[in-house]
Amino acid sequence: MSRLEAKKPSFCRSEPLTSERVRATLSVLKGIVTSCYGPAGRLKQLHNGLGGSVCTTSQSAALLANLPVTHPILKILTTSVQNHVSCFSDGGLFTAILCCNLVENVQRIGLTPTTVIKLNKQLLNLCTSYLKSEACGCRIPVNFSSTQILLCLVRSILTSKPACMLTTKEVDHISTLILRAFLLIIPENAQDHIILGKSIIVPLKHQRVIDSTVLPGILIEISEVQLMKILPIKKSDSFKVALFCVSLSGDLSDTGEGNVVVSYGVSLENAVLDQLLNLGRQLASDHVDLVLCQKVIHPSLKQLLRTHHVIAVDRVGVAVMEPLSKVTGTRPIGSLDSISPSSYGSVKELCTAKFGFKHFFHLIPNETTVCSLLLCNRNDTAWDELKLTCQTALHALQLTIKEPCVLLGGGCTETHLAAYIRHKTRSEPEGILRDDGCTQTELQLIAEAFCSALESLAGSLEHDGGEILTDGKYGHFWSVQADSPSVVNWPDLLSRCGCGLYSSQEELSWSFLRSARLPFVPQTCLPCEATDSAGNLTLDCFTAKLSGLQVAVETANLILDLSYVIEDKN
């Protein structure tokens, strides 16, 4: 008999964007993400009134994962940002704010969605082709012979996450660690395509950040009791390692779908244990020094191995199995009898180490592409934030290897791009319109909306009531502290632009970002010496930002295209 349940009819709403409630919720979301943006961003504390852990963050990944969103339109926006973050780690807030800005600005114009979507797409194409072109004025090629730019990139990512609670000194320390961890996973003798290793982040909470460190090889955490049992390690150049993926606990393997009848007095446990002990003897006779097991090792077998001076470590878990087999060169063994000698691997050095109050078993391989990043921070929530940030930075470095260039950060890319679009839409609108059936006026309106979305995105870097200026030569981002005298000599008040590339020594005809300005030709093609000389630049990951831009515009288009929302209330 089938159970029937009457379905409630769905709830259908037309033109969702025109409703006041949707606008209000959108602007609330925008307020949340905007206030988090940048190094001066405000932190958000997410907590459940019933108790449990509290999350203090300013990162989109943590924020959006915990934010309960009910309205379907917001859900679209947040999932699209989350998907972007899961692909690129960086640029989540950028995407969210830009998307909100675009939706808001375009709604104010009141053109039909068809035209808006078409033109938005055209403007996006303009942006992407400019950013990908050689002439781009906000792109710096990465020179891998020096670590300068990579270090700047890591430091920019670290400083943009204030919830990590790092001092300047700590930022320097962590960014060098991250860069070192990244360099350690690059194989030394690379062939035509590089397969990167893996850096494992090892948690070490309630310690000073300065105590964080990077070690080549793998750290396996062990309890103090286990440590006592491990015999002093003999000195040797090389240690033979066996890695088991099969359980060595003496349980019976799958016996099939039929029945197995065991006669009285026959003990299968003993039979299996015998088998295990045989295995132990074989390992000992093969002169294995270290036995690692993903699952549990039977105590008797452990005892046997100890008597033969073989170190046994069990329950290493599935997560480290792949790096372990990579580091040691072993093949995970899935058999209980007769092990092929080719399955064994080796490590260069074995030692136990103590970091903080944790004991670790440290495997140092001969040729390393795996490293362990011991990450310390004062409390749980700051550690979580720091871990996320480190992952972001490592990912950004990997993406930079694939696409060896970086974008200027600190709002300069956005303002520059806005200046470029303004100039392009004024000077050659025909090239952008082609035969879309849109008029030039429509293009001007949409371009203005698009540019102001970009500019107010840059403007949301400022949270302390300061003014934002842009210059008339490079189109970069300059911020002035609040309460500065109104009409003064700008070069005295300004020091460097947002990304740190240009100083205020030049006469650059500054003007307020919010005021109306004449379109100008922003200088394209960065001079080489400018990038080399500048010591401390703020930089963004190229791939992540480019994709963030695309995703933001595509999502905004998607939201603008909605004519109905059907909510299933079941």
Partner: protein
């Protein structure tokens, strides 16, 4: 409780549905966001999906949705048009009954009686609809609409080569109504590329379509978080899982499929394994290990490099595979398995009972097998070597949110379904009426009128042929073609024109003896001129059936006749074919041939509207006229919505007047739209809607019951038999 099922109620329901679906119709249509109770968000412009998502309660609405989904199962297209068309039909019917109310129900009868009477009237109308559908519609489709049809194939020969540009137009129009506005060009281009990449040879595209339609879920990989423009086509097959063991291998790789665990188990289902001692247990375990090793060794000896398994293999198997350099992919779904089997024709590997030395038979080759990383997730990438006309390729679909990726998936799948429908012939019911009349008189007229058109074409065609070809022709061949023709004339209704053909060729046969001698020096250009001359008498002989003139010419241009004769050798086969086509058309008269398309933008609707109106004018019977008028007017509903936002010259009244004018003056219809749509799909839609309407009209009351209607079992009927 019973509620009156009336046209009024149905109209109200249909109007509500129309407002929802009409916003997504056509190239200007917008998206609808659906949320699922699980919290998932879905974007859609697919009418069927929207109607389902609404979870309608109204009984008539539920019936309409059921009709739509059964239509969709058949064709995969046209849910929105269905609702709009149905709504307009109901509106027309309602308007008519409002007008006729006074005449029908002037007498003062009780309400109940009036209700029944009304129902009888609806029954009557639905009968009229049935006759319309079975007789008039197909007649009009065939007689009038047929001449406007275009074909997706670039030529009408047997191989039916696909024309890429028209396929692009067809798909472009399809995706215009399915996916977001700035993606439809991209998606349709992607689909087009995919289709042509998968089709190894020209002729096998039907097989390809069938396979892709059946296994589409396995042939696509959805990736969220990337811009749509990152979507691409990848050669080979991508399986959404990682290798259990990966051993790099070069060159062609031999693969086997297993559907059971390779390691033998203690006992199989329904059997018992009795253990008497510990040693017995140990030896049997030892035997199992040795056996597994032996099998893996055997596979390695047979040069197998990849093992595809539908089940999870024990650790031991994985370990042995790794030792023997065999990569393993586990847990293949049954759909993936069937796809691989369809592509490679590979049967599963049966674990040999004894340690066998014989050659392994069930293997296939792959070009490569390697891990494939998409958005830091690992996939297995197989370069299957196909044994059928399908060259395996995968589509990677990217989008910022899952909802969008899903929308593209559904649209692509629907497009394959639509193409599959398009390449099928669609039979019309029109045969019954046509056969008795047409066999006697109309085919003749038809053929004659056609022949006069065809003839110059054929002569031209022969001119284009290289001259040398004709020289090779000899008497024997000619005689052969002649006998063909004679045989043919027996088959077909003997027509005037065929006789003349034979008459034309008889004198040439006698003259072929001179052909050998005269064939020495003949340059191309004069020959061409002469042929043009010969062309005239040929037609003359057709129309006048005068052999005298023909022979006179032959005498006067004795030399020329030879060339003509030689040419005829090449002409006749062509002609022969064209004749065959003629006759086949006259016999399978009523069908929409595969690949028939019309330009989009309400072309079909306007054409059918015009011809139905003109048919209604000619018709004597009042109900036929009425039904045709109703349907003709309702048809305009779709183009009206399509052109709603257009202004000036492209507004609906302008388009409509221009189309009518063109039809009245027999000029070709000019369409400003670049897309194409399937005729068969439109026709099927029309019939489905009429069927649904008949259902609505014949219901007189809706009874609400508390439990499910009991299923009717057919046990009794069996007993009776």
């Amino acid at each position: 409780m019973a509620a009156a099922g009336s046209v009024r109620a149905a109209l109200q329901v249909a109007e509500v549905l129309e407002t929802v679906v009409s916003c997504c119709l056509g190239p200007e249509g917008r998206q609808v966001l659906c949320t699922k109770p699980t919290g998932e968000v879905l974007l859609s412009r697919d009418g069927g999906r929207l109607l389902k998502a609404l979870h309608l309660e109204h009984p008539i609405a539920r019936m309409m949705v059921a009709c739509v989904s059964s239509h969709l199962r058949k064709t995969g297209d046209g849910a929105k048009t269905f609702i709009i068309f149905l709504c307009h039909l109901l509106r027309e019917l309602h308007a008519i009954t409002d007008k006729e109310k006074d005449s029908f129900f002037s007498e003062n009868i009780q309400t109940h009686g009036r209700h029944w009477k009304k129902c009888c009237q609806w029954k009557f109308i639905s009968q009229a609809l049935l006759t319309f559908q079975t007789q008039i519609l197909d007649y009009v489709m065939d007689r009038y609409l047929g001449r406007h049809f275009l074909s997706i194939f670039s030529s009408s020969t047997k191989e039916r080569p696909l024309c890429r540009s028209s396929l692009e137009m067809l798909l472009g129009a399809y995706f215009c109504g399915r996916v977001g506005r700035n993606n439809h060009n991209f998606v349709s281009q992607l689909m087009c590329d995919y289709f042509f990449k998968c089709t190894a040879c020209e002729s096998g595209f039907e097989e390809v379509l069938e396979l892709v339609d059946d296994c589409f879920v396995e042939l696509k990989v959805g990736v969220t978080g990337l811009p749509v423009s990152d979507s691409r086509i990848i050669a080979g097959l991508v399986l959404p899982r990682d290798f259990s063991v990966y051993c790099p291998a070069d060159g062609d790789i031999r693969i086997v499929i297993v559907i059971e665990t390779i390691q033998p188990l203690f006992s199989t289902f329904g059997s018992e394994f009795i253990l008497n001692s510990e040693a017995q247990f140990q030896t049997s375990q030892f035997w199992i290990t040795e056996r597994t090793k032996a099998i893996m060794k055997y596979l390695q000896k047979q040069n197998v490099k990849l093992l595809l398994s539908t089940v999870k293999q024990p650790d031991l198997v994985i370990y042995c595979a790794g030792l023997n350099g065999i990569s393993v992919v586990e847990c293949l779904s049954s759909e993936e398995l069937s796809l691989i089997q369809r592509v490679t024709g590979l049967a599963p590997f049966v674990v040999p009972q004894a340690s066998s030395q014989y050659e392994l038979s069930n293997t296939a080759m792959v070009k490569f097998c390697k891990p494939f990383i998409l958005r830091s997730k690992r996939y297995v990438h197989l370069g299957l070597i196909s044994t059928c006309s399908f060259t395996p390729h995968c589509i990677v679909l990217c989008g910022p949110v899952q909802g969008l990726v899903e929308q593209h998936e559904v649209a692509l799948h629907g497009a394959f379904k639509m193409l599959r429908q398009l390449f099928k012939d669609l039979d019309l019911n029109y045969v019954t009426q046509a056969s008795d009349q047409n066999c006697t008189s109309s085919p003749l007229i038809y053929k004659n009128s056609r022949e006069s058109n065809d003839l110059p074409e054929i002569v031209n065609g022969s001119i284009q042929r290289p001259y040398q070809d004709t020289v090779v022709k000899n008497k024997d061949e000619l005689a052969k073609t002649q006998t063909y023709l004679k045989a043919y004339s027996n088959l077909v209704v003997p027509s005037v024109e065929l006789e003349t053909n034979i008459l034309c060729s008889t004198p040439t046969v006698t003259l072929t003896d001179t052909y050998q001698t005269d064939a020495t020096l003949r340059c191309f250009s004069p020959g061409k001129a002469r042929i043009m001359d010969d062309h005239e008498p040929f037609i003359e002989s057709n129309s006048a059936n005068s052999t005298t003139e023909n022979t006179r010419r032959e005498i006067s241009y004795e030399n020329l006749q030879v060339t003509k004769n030689a040419r005829k050798g090449s002409v006749l086969p062509v002609r022969h074919k064209s004749l065959e086509m003629c006759t086949s058309q006259s016999y399978c008269f009523s069908s929409v041939p595969a690949g028939c398309v019309l330009p989009v933008g309400g072309n079909f609707e306007i054409l059918l509207h015009y011809y139905l109106l003109s048919y209604a004018k000619k018709c004597q019977q009042s109900e036929e006229t009425m039904v045709s008028m109703i349907i003709a007017n309702a048809l305009l509903g779709v183009p009206k919505i399509l052109y709603k936002s257009k202004k000036g010259n492209y507004s609906f009244p302008q388009i409509y007047i221009r189309a009518l004018h063109a039809l009245q003056t027999n000029q070709p219809l000019i369409s400003n739209q670049t897309g194409l749509e399937s005729v068969a799909g439109k026709y099927q839609l029309l019939t489905s809607v009429l069927q649904c309407l008949r259902n609505i009209l014949t219901i007189d009351s809706v009874i609400n019951i508390k439990r499910q209607p009991q299923e009717i079992y057919d046990q009794d009927s069996e007993e009776e038999l």
